[in-house]
Point group: D2
C-alpha cells in the first residue's frame, strides 16, 4: 500500500482528495494536516466521510510527512514550495495541487503570484501533471505540479488543433465558466450563496493567474508563440467548468472530428463526443473525465470547441490521483472509476 | 454474476440504478427496457454513462426478462403488478421501486392510487424492503416492494421511539422536505427550474400517497394504532430528503441518544450523529446512507428527530441494490460503498 | 418629505431598505452610514442602485442623524441600543431592524443575546412593530422594534387561532424554512454557495434567538401561557421564509378558513388563500406580503398553517417602511405596492 | 388611459408584462387571452398577482382586441402574423414579443422558423423595437417587432464599436449565457430543475434563430457586411443574460471607454460601467436595464465587451413597455422605474 499524506486538507480539493483516496485500492491514508483545524476529526468538518475516515487533522510535522511515500499539497499558493526540498530529499514524492510549480520561469510566477519563489531551483525538475501531454515524464517524476482547473479544460480543448497546426495561433479565445467551488472554501462575501447564486458574471478580465499557465502549455503544444484571450466567469453552480474555445481555422479542409478522436483515442479520461454534441458539466460531476465536442458553425472559418470537466476532479483531486497512479506504476484508472452523479 | 434487468430505465431512479449496478462487483446488466426510448443508447440519454454502459433501450420482452435472475421495475405505479406473476413463475426475483406492492391491503392501494390492483394475491407475499426492519424476510423473498423515499426517511426516524414505546402514538408529525428529483423526470411545468427554483412550498397537505405507506410501517413498528400528520414540501435542490419529525414524549426519562445509537448499532447504512447535531442532505448526496439526529428542545416534552437521505439512493435505487444483495446472499454493502459527494 | 437616515446599510436589509425608500413618494434619503465602507459609493457596493442612489457611506455622525425625521438601524444586534436615547431626545423617530428592543424583559434579552442591554429603560416604551397586532400603538410610537423574519411569519400564522382560542396553547410547533439571505451578508463559510447550495439542514434546534420573541408575541395574542417548539431550517434559495405551523384543535367545529379570512379582512399585506392552497415563497419575492393557507389534514385534530413571506421585505425592510408609514400618518401602503417578481 | 390587451399571457413574458402594466401609471389592462387557460383567473396561475389583477384568461376575440389601443403578443412564433393585419386595420397598435416581424426578409424568416410567413407584406412596415437604434421610427410605428433577448444584449454591446468602425467586422464572436426562463414556460424535460440545475452547457452551436436577427442588426449598424459566431449557453439561474463579446480592434488608438459612454450618454436604460468593471446579471434582475463594460485585456488587439440584461425585462416585456411608451408619446421611462432586486 502507498502511504499518502495530505497537507492542508480543509478545502474543497482536500475533501475531494479524501473521497478518492479512501476508496483507492492501493492507498493508505497516513496523515492529514491543518494548522487551523488541528485536533478536529476530519469527519466532523466533512460529514460525508463519517465512518470512512478516522483521522483527525494534525499540525504539519516533517517527521510524519517524511515517512509517507507521497504527499499531496492541497494548500494555498506559496506553501508547498517551502517544504518541497526537504521532503524530496527524504525520498517522498510530491504532488502539489496549488500553483507553486506550474510555471517554468520563476520571474513569471513571482509576477502573477506576488511573492518571491522559495525554491526556483526545483522548477526545472517539476513535471507539469497533465497526463495527456506529459505521461512518460510523470511516471518518473519526483515532483508533479498538478494543473489548474481552467488550464486543464482549456488545454485539452486546444491541444489537438495546435499540435496539428490547423489554426491561427495568434487569435485564440477561451471563454470559460466555472462553478463556485473553484474559488475554494473561504469566508469571502463574493462567493456567498446570496451573492453568487442566481447570478452570472465575468471576473478577472484584465488578467487572471491561469492565463500564463494556459499560455505556457499552449506554446509547448504548438512549439510556437501563441496569443490567447482568457475570460473566466462565475456561474451559479457548485462544481464544473465549461470552456468555450474559439480559433480561426487556417486549414479549412481539416477533418476536425477525426482529429480530436484520433488525438484522444487511447485516453481513459478524455471523451470526444459525436458531431453536433453539447457536453454538459453534470455529465462529469464527481468523475475524472473531460468531455469535448468540436463545432464549425455555419461551416465558417471559426472552430468552436466545448470542453467540460469537474473542476475538483479532473481539474484538481482526480488528476492528482491520476498522476499518483502514474508515478507509482499503478493502473492509471485505479480509484478513478466512479461514475458522474446525474442528476 | 447475477443477471439483472431493468424495466423502465429512463427516469431518475433508472439512471441511478444503472450508476450503481455498473460498478457492482457481482452484477451483470443484461437488459434495460423503455417503450418510449427504444433503440436509443442509454449513454445518449444519460451522458454520465458514456463508456460505461453499452446497452440500448429495448421494448419490454418477457423472454429476455425471464432469463434474468432479478428484474428491477423503475416504472410508474401500476406497471410492475402487470408483469410480476409471470416473472415470478419463471423464477425471476423482482424488486419494484414503484408503489405496487407497498401496501398490504388492496383496497387501500386502490383508494390512494386510483386504479384497480392487477394482482392483489401477491400482496401477502411481497416483502416491504426496509432492511432495517425486514432483513430476514428480504433474504428469502421473491418479490420486494422497495419503500418510497419519504417513507424511508420518516420510518427510520420514528422507529426507535415507537419500538421502545416512549412517545405518544396519537400525535406524530412528519414535516418532510424533498429535492425536486423526487418528482421524477417528467415534462411537467411545476418542476421546471423556473418554477421550483429559488422557491419553497408545501404540497399535498390534504393527502399524499406516502401517508398510508408510512402509517402502515409505523403501526407495525408500534404494534399499535398510530396517528400521523404528514406534510411534504418541495425544496429547490436536486437530491435529498430532510424529514423533521415531532413526537410527544411519554417517558420523559428516556435516554433518546442511547436509544437511537443502540437501535442502529449494527446497521451499515444508518448513522446516528452525536447529540446536538444537524444532519445535512449533502452529507448523503449519492450515498446509500441515512443520517439521524435526535433532539429534545428546551428539555421539553417534544422530541425532534432530524433524518436525511438521498431520495434516489437510500430512498430508491441504493435501497433496491441493498435488497438485491440480501436476496442473493451477497454482502449487504456490495456496490454501495461510494462516498457522498460534498460539496 | 420625510428625511430618513440609515445606520449600517451594507447588509441585505440595508440594500432592501434603500430599494424601497428610493422609490417611496414621501421620503428623502438623507444619510447612510457604515464604518467599514465609509467613502464608498452605495451604488458601488450595490450596483442595482446605480443611477438611483447618489450617496456614499459615511461614518455614523450624531449631528447628521439628529437632523433626520426618522433613523432606521439596519445594524447588528447591540448597536441601536447605544444611540437610541440621544436620537429620541433630539426628536428623531427610530425604527430598529435588529433585535435590541424586541423583548420586553431585559434579562431575557441579555440571556439570549449574550450582552448587557444598554438602555433597558426604553424597553417599556418601544413598540413591537407588527402592524397587524399593534397598528394603533405604532402610529404614536417614537421607537419601533421591527420584528424578526421568522417571528413575523410564525405570529401571523398562529394569531387567528390563538386569539380565537380554538387550539391547545401547550403544544405549538413551528417548523420554519428560510432562504440564506436571512443569515445576512457576512463572510462566513456556512453560507457560501458551495456549503448552503443544493443542501438542506435544520439549525439551532437546541435554541434560536427568535424563540423568545415568537413566544412573547404568541403569549400576548393568547393572553395566556403558550408552549412552542421552533425548528428553523436553511433552504438553498436567496429570499423567502416558509413556516409550517402545527397546533391541536380544541374546538373541532371551528370554521378555520372563515376565521383566517375574517381576521385579516382589512389587512393590506396579509393574504389568506382559498382552501387547499399551498402558498409559494416566490409569490411574495420582493413584495411586502404574507400569504397564508390553513389546512386540517384528513379532517383530524391537527391544524396546519402555511405562511410565507420574503424575509427581507415583510420580514425586515418592507415591514420597517410599513411602520414608518404608520408613524408619519402616511397611507400604510405608500412605497410598498411593488409586485412580487415571478419567476 | 391606454387600453392594453395581451394575447397569450400564460408564459413568462406574459406574467412579466402583467407585472409591469399593472403598476404603469397610464395603462388600463383590458383583456388577456389564452386558449389553454380560458376561464382561469390570472392570479391563480400567477399568485404574485393576487389582489392586483382581477382578470381571467379569455379566448382570443377580435372584437375585444379591436377595442384596445395597443395589443401585445406574448405568443409563440407564428401567432401574431395571423392577426396583425386585421388589428392594424382596426387602428390598434401592435407590439409583438415573438419573432414574427423581426427579420426583414420573409425567406430568411421562413428558413429559420420553418413555416410560411402569413403576412410578408407587413415586414417592410414593421419597426424593429430597439429604441437605442430606432427611437424615432418607433414613435410613429403601428407595428413594432420587439427584439429577442440575446439580440438585445449582443447588439447593445457591439453597436458603439460597429458604428465607430473601430473593429474588424469579419470576426465577431458573441458568447452568450442565458438563465432558463429564456426557454419559456413549457413542459419540457430539458429545462426541469433536475436537468438544468447545477449544470452548464452550450446549445444550438450549429445554428440558433437569434443569429440572423443579431446579424441583421449588426449589418445595419455597420452599414456593411458582418460575420458573427454566436454561441448560446444555458446557465442554472432563472433570469438574466450575460453576453461576452469579442472583436478585433482595427483602430488600436480608440478610446473605447469614452466611445461607449458617449454612445449611451442619453440612454435611460443603458448603463456603461467604469473601466475594469464586471457587470452582474443580478444588478438588472427585474429591471429594464442593460449594463455594459468594455475591456481590452493585456492591452492587446482584442476588445471584450460584457453586456447584461434581464431577459424578461430589457430582453422582452420591459422593452415592450418602453416601445409602447414611445408609440404613445409617454415619458420613455413610465412604469419602468423599478429597481433591480438584489440579492
Amino acid at each position: 500500500m502507498i502511504k499518502a499524506g495530505i497537507v492542508g486538507g480543509t478545502g474543497y480539493t482536500g475533501v475531494e482528495l479524501l473521497r478518492l483516496l479512501v476508496t483507492h485500492p492501493a492507498v493508505e491514508l497516513a496523515v492529514i494536516t491543518s494548522r487551523g483545524e488541528k485536533g478536529v476529526q476530519v469527519s466532523q468538518l466533512f460529514p460525508n466521510l463519517r465512518g470512512r475516515v478516522d483521522l483527525a487533522f494534525v499540525e504539519p510535522d516533517d517527521t510524519v510527512l517524511k515517512s509517507c511515500d507521497v504527499v499531496f499539497f492541497a494548500t494555498p499558493n506559496g506553501t508547498a514550495m517551502k517544504s518541497a526540498s526537504a521532503l524530496l530529499e527524504a525520498g517522498v514524492k510530491i504532488i502539489d495541487l496549488a500553483a507553486d510549480f506550474r510555471l517554468r520561469r520563476a520571474e513569471e510566477w513571482e509576477h502573477w503570484y506576488g511573492m518571491p519563489h522559495a525554491c526556483p531551483e526545483l522548477l526545472a525538475e517539476a513535471v507539469y501533471g497533465l497526463p495527456e501531454v506529459n505521461r512518460e515524464a510523470i511516471r518518473t517524476a519526483r515532483l508533479v505540479a498538478n494543473p489548474g482547473c481552467y488550464p486543464t479544460a482549456v488545454q485539452l480543448g486546444f491541444l489537438p488543433l495546435l499540435e496539428a497546426g490547423v489554426i491561427d495561433r495568434q487569435s485564440l479565445i477561451a471563454d470559460a465558466k466555472s462553478g463556485v467551488s473553484g474559488a475554494g472554501r473561504k469566508a469571502e462575501v463574493g462567493i456567498l450563496l446570496c451573492e453568487a447564486g442566481d447570478n452570472f458574471k465575468a471576473y478577472g478580465v484584465p488578467g487572471h493567474r491561469h492565463l500564463p499557465e494556459i499560455r505556457q502549455g499552449l506554446i509547448t503544444a504548438a512549439a510556437n508563440p501563441v496569443e490567447l484571450v482568457f475570460v473566466p466567469h462565475l456561474t451559479p453552480m457548485i462544481r464544473g467548468i465549461h470552456a468555450t474555445l474559439y480559433a480561426t481555422l487556417t486549414d479549412p479542409g481539416a477533418d476536425l472530428q477525426a482529429l480530436f478522436e484520433r488525438r484522444y483515442a487511447n485516453e481513459p479520461f478524455v471523451d470526444v463526443l459525436p458531431p453536433k454534441s453539447h457536453p454538459e458539466t453534470r455529465s462529469v460531476r464527481g468523475a475524472n473525465q473531460c468531455r469535448l465536442a468540436v463545432h464549425r458553425p455555419q461551416n465558417g472559418k471559426t472552430v468552436v470547441v466545448l470542453s467540460v470537466i469537474d473542476n475538483l476532479v479532473k481539474g484538481a483531486a482526480g488528476q492528482a490521483v491520476q498522476n499518483m497512479n502514474l508515478m507509482f506504476g499503478l493502473p492509471e484508472t485505479a480509484g478513478l472509476e466512479g461514475i458522474a452523479l446525474l442528476p
